[in-house]
Amino acid sequence: MSEFCVSTKSLTKQFGNKLALNDLTLDIPHGGIHAIVGSNGAGKSTLFRLLLGVETPTSGICTLLGERSDNISANVRGKVGYVNEEHTLPGWMKVAAVKELQQSFYPDWNHDIYNKVIAYFDVDPKQKVSVLSRGERAGFNLSMALAQRPSLLILDEPTLGLDVVARQSFLEALMFTETEEEMTTIYCSHQMEEVERIAEQLIIMEKGRLINNSTPDDFCARVSCWVADWDAIKSKLGNKDVGIPGFLSRREIDGQQHILVVDQGDDFGDFLHGQGAKDIAQLPVNLERAINAFLTTNHNKPVAL
């Protein structure tokens, strides 16, 4: 088996004038839950389509479980589970029939896992798929995906639109169902609470580029918030905020400047001081704020780790 579960090198995909993926180099090792966070249009879905070989890249290469995405064997294809937010299933079929159909495609299908996962959700095998709620469809999809015993499970915003109870069941089933083999999970979500609870690795994408690939804690530690009395910022730097090292965002609250920066040590305080700022204080930042700062900034994009 290759070193990485997913690996891309200088992957680029262009649609018309738009770069959906821009020179993306990303390695995801085997095992664990990797969250991918990014604004809408950051290129997450394009990345999955390229990985699964549904689309071909404009340039660059990507591999999935050691095989090139443009030439995936049936064997590797069978080792990938995919659940997206739509939870699309044939509405006219009964649950049991859909399950049997799915099962026939996957030789490694495990009944025990299916039963354990579906038990989290109130799904009757005799029901028609069309009468299932969104949460039940999500649970049914997850049950089938896990029963396939995938080496790689891709979940693209699976809990979107689910109520609290269904969401909780979904996350519980995902995290606590015992599967014997090591599985790598890629989890796309906009829900920061979910990301904080389940992610071991945090991948951040913006405009088709990789911005971060580290543990959430390491990422959070990169971002710091500085508060200072610093009127000169406007006259000195205009509204562009150029020249501030590691700049992410700035807000003025009650006349105080709140500045979020990345990869700056305590000497950033000295920098502010040197620029004539007064009453300088450093505040801690939580994960959501750190992520948002990255996703909203349009300047001085930090280099990927």
Partner: protein, 131 residues
């Protein structure tokens, strides 16, 4: 096999402390206040993860941290237990931790305008309570 103790800690998302740190702090407080006694068995990774609805590997990371701090110890095949002998920090580490905690305390209380003696009385009383 001995039953594991219930750990009454809470975690919150959106905090400035990562979840693993919240677990470490929470369990350390439980031990310091005598709610978890030396020799108590801790829940499994999975068990505590289910209770807190978080990734089991985050609990594993917190337990590893508690282990390296000497607060808990693993017994082969039996699980993780609160250490019998808690003092494993060096003198320098102890004084550093004490100073840090004192800074936070002073920061929280200096504006309340109590006399030093009054503050010390409250602290003494609290310390006696947990001993």
């Amino acid at each position: 096999m001995s039953k594991s103790s219930t750990i009454k800690i809470k975690i919150v998302t959106g905090d400035i402390r990562p979840i693993f740190k919240q677990i470490v702090d929470g369990i350390r407080l439980e031990i310091a206040t005598g709610k978890l006694l030396p020799g108590c068995k801790l829940p499994s990774y999975r068990g505590l993860a289910m209770q807190l609805m978080i990734n089991p590997n985050t609990v594993a990371k917190a337990y590893a941290e508690l282990n390296s701090q000497g607060l808990v110890e693993s017994r082969k095949g039996l699980g993780l237990f609160v250490s019998e002998n808690q003092q494993t920090l060096s003198d320098d580490e102890r004084i550093e931790k004490l100073t840090k905690a004192a800074d936070i305390f002073i920061n929280e209380t200096v504006h309340l305008n109590y006399f030093d003696d009054e503050i010390l009385t409250v602290i003494k009383h609290k310390l006696q309570k947990i001993k």
